[in-house]
Subunit: 455 residues, 2 copies
């Protein structure tokens, strides 16, 4: 490994120069005007994989933008790592807020400024360079590697999901390695080992069979807005717990190790509340903010509507009221089961005065890669060696559907090892990426393959 | 009186012929194309008042349609009755549903079919004919009479309110007599002696200072939709009572006489629930449906909104949620006081996790003319004599702002003595008016003046 690390350290400038070329390509997936640039960008990625000697290298056309795939199956009997990332970038509006043009990379201080620098070009390129270091030094790769890069992550990965389902053999692997997330804080190497899932529901509550005049009828029928409010108010108890029967049955309890790991992150509740403009935080009693956000399921009202919502005063007693309610799920809750429990519960607490319809709009499972798994352990060791300090364990409150697809279709857990920083403006003007983290990322990548092969 | 009644009974045909002429004028106040017809109609009314020998007869121009006023101040020392009504009518759409054209009056069975027949031309014309019967028989009028007919009731009486405020001396009276409402049921002479008032509020609840991602933040802050639902759910107790402190303090209790009178109306809860499509009615425990609708204050949610309300699933944890909430008031609740109590209460139950803004959008007082007042008693006697049966007492759940204006500006209580029927389609195609009730209405009108002069 020493030769490899030495080699990486002596190639800093070249890594930056190559990244600059990558960042110059305006690969905005949502803009039809950039359709040609998307192909140019896919070809750039393909050429870089070709330099590594990847086999089965191919640009797969899709209904949208192409998928680039290539593999290095040179370590028989060793694990296979699928490196996933995306070469497409976010739009650049409002352009006038950029200090330097988004596709003319500019280095200022420790950062390189360009659209896509952190999200996700810089983070996929560091893995290509991590692999390259083995190749250039004629060191056999300690694991098998598959590269899978898509051009539609910023527009919903619509074509990647069927591609995975239709190419399970091609993509077969032991771990999916993803670098597309920020570190917990500056100079804090981080491993994200869990994502929440989602069950998204809609309630339609019907009171009277038509809109009524609130003067002529008010006082005789149950107003569906009021009834809906009464139903929603019953979904949390006074301790902030979700009251749906069976809701917590399949919840994976936080281990002592995890709770201690989260505690070490010293989340600043006061600062957090101030930033959000609230006088007090709210959540499930008995858990810290990070635990609530990352490892506990929640129920949120995403929307509500009914009756008159315009300017002024219209005295309607409406026939219907609606709510969109979603639940964030944690391992091992299943969206379909939770959706059924939700529907059953809502029906059981709907008063006789109203009729209710509950629809399951959308769902996705949670994901977890246990911290004692080989993948997470290898990431831990690699990050520690590269950064000279122990990484922290984090989870993510949101969902990354593609991670669940990998988990479900390939039975491969994901290791989320991000090198971005929380303030790198990944979806805003002046996106930037720390060149220190870029370089350490290349080193981490090289170490990771070695570490996982030894476990 | 015998001569007068005999005279009325022998003029049936003429009354109908004259009403037909009145109904032919397409006085749709909301249609600019009928602007000229509005004036024609006002002139028709004026000519009919002129035939009675009214003094101070005048068509008052307004920013909208004209007001017709005339008076017969021929009974010194006797009460003054202001007869209020409107000569404008509702639009006629959808025209294709009319069996005969809306402005070509057609008699079928006991009904005359035409737009405005019940609402309100037939009901104002019967008073003109009631007064005429005295004049034609050279019987001195037993009371002083003022006629006030507007042409904008169907579009909100915008110009009548300032007219009343600016002409308090001209309009000074002891009672306002209004026939612009339906009887409780067929062949059931009715007196409406109370109307509910209104205090209309808006709540804006703010949680976090911006819309958040429900995955990344769900579980750490109080969702304002949830908090709003929790607030609304607290506004009624388990007995359907409004929980606002002091809300019932000024409520005029239902007297034993009133409760018995309402009970006699034999409201059919089952049929009512079936018509509204609800399995069960809802309201304040300890009161019948009619009591709840007419004589008890209520709190209704007229609108609610917040977060994502479009198609599909957007995972927003919104910054704000809103509700429009109105309270129907009964004597002697005051809208301004109730609005303040509401605001205070909402603030007191808003959790520390959110900020709240409460606005008072609109209000109007309740109205009541006690059933032992001379006005109601005279109406009772007159209706009993004309219909040969005792009338019923009703109240109305809605508000009629102009009645409150009369009450507040002229200090004159209103007697609401309607001759329409609930199924006469006053705002729908095929509006009709029972000619039996028209004729009995003329007789009632004649009796009313006599009765009130004797009390």
């Amino acid at each position: 490994m020493n030769n490899i690390i030495e080699y990486i350290n002596s190639n800093k400038k070249r890594y930056i120069d190559e990244l600059v070329e990558f960042l110059k390509i305006p690969s905005i997936s949502s803009n039809p005007d950039n359709k040609k640039d998307m192909l140019t960008c896919a070809k750039f990625v393909e050429s870089k994989l070709a330099e590594l000697g990847t086999k089965n290298l191919k640009i797969y056309e899709t209904k949208g933008h192409p998928i680039v795939y290539g593999e290095l199956m040179e370590a028989p009997g060793k694990p296979t790592i699928l490196i996933y990332g995306h070469y497409d970038v976010q739009p650049v509006d409002p352009l006038e807020l950029w200090e330097t043009p988004p596709f003319e990379p500019s280095i200022r201080g420790e950062y390189i400024y360009a659209r896509g620098s952190a999200d996700d070009k810089g983070q996929i390129y560091l893995h290509i360079k991590g692999v390259e270091a083995y190749k250039k030094n004629n060191v056999p790769l300690p694991v098998n590697i598959k590269f899978l890069f898509e051009g539609e992550e910023e527009v919903g990965s619509e074509n990647l999901e069927p591609f995975i389902k239709n190419n399970k053999d091609l993509l077969k692997c032991d771990y999916v390695l993803i670098s597309d997330s920020p570190m917990y804080a500056y100079n804090t190497p981080s491993i994200c080992y869990g994502l929440r899932g989602l069950a998204y529901m809609q309630i339609e509550l019907t009171g009277p069979n038509k809109d009524l005049h609130s003067g002529s009828y008010g006082g005789s029928v149950h107003n569906p807005i009021q009834a809906l409010a009464e139903i929603i108010a019953k979904l949390h108890d006074k301790n902030g717990k979700v009251t749906i029967k069976g809701f917590y049955d399949d919840v994976l309890k936080l281990s002592k190790t995890e709770r201690e790991a989260f505690k070490k992150l010293k989340h600043n509740d006061k600062k957090y509340a101030k930033e959000l403009g609230v006088a007090e935080l709210y959540g499930e009693k008995g858990y810290s903010t990070l635990e609530r956000l990352w490892a506990r399921p929640t129920l949120e009202c995403n929307g509500i509507w009914g009756g008159f919502t315009g300017e002024g005063a219209k005295t309607v007693l409406p026939s219907k009221a609606y709510a969109k309610i979603s639940m964030r799920l944690v391992p091992y809750q299943k969206p379909e089961k939770i959706a059924k429990l939700f529907e059953k519960h809502i029906k059981s607490i709907t008063p006789k005065t109203c009729k209710v319809k509950v629809d399951y709009l959308h769902g996705g499972g949670p994901a977890i890669t246990p911290i004692d798994s080989k993948g997470v352990k290898a990431a831990f060791n690699a990050l520690e060696k590269a950064f000279g300090k122990k990484p922290v364990y984090t989870r993510e409150g949101g969902s990354i559907p593609i991670v669940v697809t990998f988990q479900e279709e390939l039975k491969a857990p994901a290791v989320l090892m991000g090198f971005g920083l929380p303030d790198e403006n990944s979806h805003a003007p002046n996106e930037r990426f720390s060149l220190i983290n870029y370089q350490k990322g290349i080193i981490t990548s090289a170490y990771f393959f070695d570490e996982i092969s030894k476990l």
